[in-house]
Symmetry: C2
Subunit: 228 residues, 2 copies
């Protein structure tokens, strides 16, 4: 009982670096320098410890990311869900989207079909809500799973495209981002692109996720002409 500060009752050298400290430092690093800069070595530097010490707290870099992700998902607040199944599916998908959009690196980690196995329940309520809503809308469980995956594909695609677009000025353009030369379009070969050329940049700036989501949900779950 003389060591009430070591809860596990372990003996030996007291740990100087906690899981919470590591995740906090990682978040600080991401917020300050961008998530591309989150490396094992830099994180160790941020913590003031040797790079190799980190491997006593984290299995590898992937493990670090998964821990960070679950922590992030756990902190996001759950919206109140509408009764109507269509609106409920949309609310859940939007919550999923917004949580990931705030931390685009998470989407990168989650581009894995087995990603479900890595999430804890604080993040899984979105999946549950979408599948449940689809079933309530009259789909079979199989169709509901397919609907979830299609919504997932759309969501992750939107986030990744936007995340990579956003790094424009942040990164010293490794892929040359020469402004799109729309005048180059040959009206004879690509007439619609040529006609729309000058409006494209303005249109590309819009956030079209919500409309696209509604279209996808309607097509997946309510294709028999919504008339209620």
């Amino acid at each position: 009982m003389s060591r009430s500060t070591t809860p596990h009752g372990r003996t030996g050298r007291p740990r100087r670096t906690s899981r919470a400290e590591i995740l906090e430092a990682a978040r600080r690093l991401i917020d300050r320098d961008g998530w591309e800069k989150l490396t094992i070595r830099r994180l160790a530097g941020e913590l003031g410890i040797g790079a190799t010490t980190l491997y006593h707290h984290v299995r590898n870099k992937g493990d670090l990311l998964v821990q960070l992700l679950n922590d992030h998902a756990g902190q996001a607040e759950r919206p109140t869900l509408p009764r109507d199944p269509r609106e409920r599916v949309i609310a859940a998908a939007t919550a999923m989207h917004d949580t990931l959009a705030a931390w685009p690196w998470a989407a990168e980690v989650l581009t894995t079909d087995g990603f479900l196995g890595l999430l804890d329940e604080s993040a899984l309520w979105t999946v549950e809500t979408i599948v449940g809503g689809a079933i309530e809308a009259g789909r079979t469980p199989e169709q509901a799973v397919v609907a979830f995956r299609d919504i997932w594909y759309y969501t992750v695609g939107e986030i990744l495209v936007r995340a990579h677009s956003g790094r424009e000025q942040a990164q010293a353009e490794s892929i040359p981002r020469h402004e799109i030369d729309f005048t180059r379009f040959d009206p004879a070969r690509v007439p619609h692109l040529a006609a729309i050329a000058d409006q494209w940049p303005a249109l590309a700036a819009h956030d079209t996720y919500p409309q696209g989501l509604r279209a996808l949900v309607d097509g997946l779950l309510f294709s028999e002409c919504p008339g209620s």
Copy 2:
């Protein structure tokens, strides 16, 4: 006229490494070792030249990928397009999808909103066809661009998720892919997931791109109850 073998009429040391050779070696490397292994250094090794020599033919790694991508897109054959606008949009999106699915790294490169500026016309016909089809279906040019982008998000998401899932055995799982433990789902908290748990792996194996695409296209372009 004494140097008809140097078409540009240049003088000096003849080039030993051509653009075609570089792209061919890169393809060989990708096919043999996987695209994660395509590095400037390995590619140079494959060609039997110094890594730094490559920088006389390629601006940087991003430039190499874009060249490879345009080359790949140029070789893909164009399907005959249906007259019906819905089927035409779907055919174009599917062609886009299939071309990228064969080379998933391309999708990674293309997760950039400015990607259009990097493609040449052999790849742009899909964009043109989708935008044109949407307009023919009665959408405004603005809506047509939004529709294209939503289809693009869905397509790129599907490919990236599948590409990263496929590396399961290829890569020494850096992110732990412990088989999803579906029994862990608490029926009280995630009832639908718990109920569907045992069927999930089988459902996840299915290719749902075509159905999802149809749903999205219907929702985007034909939401006013298709009854023709």
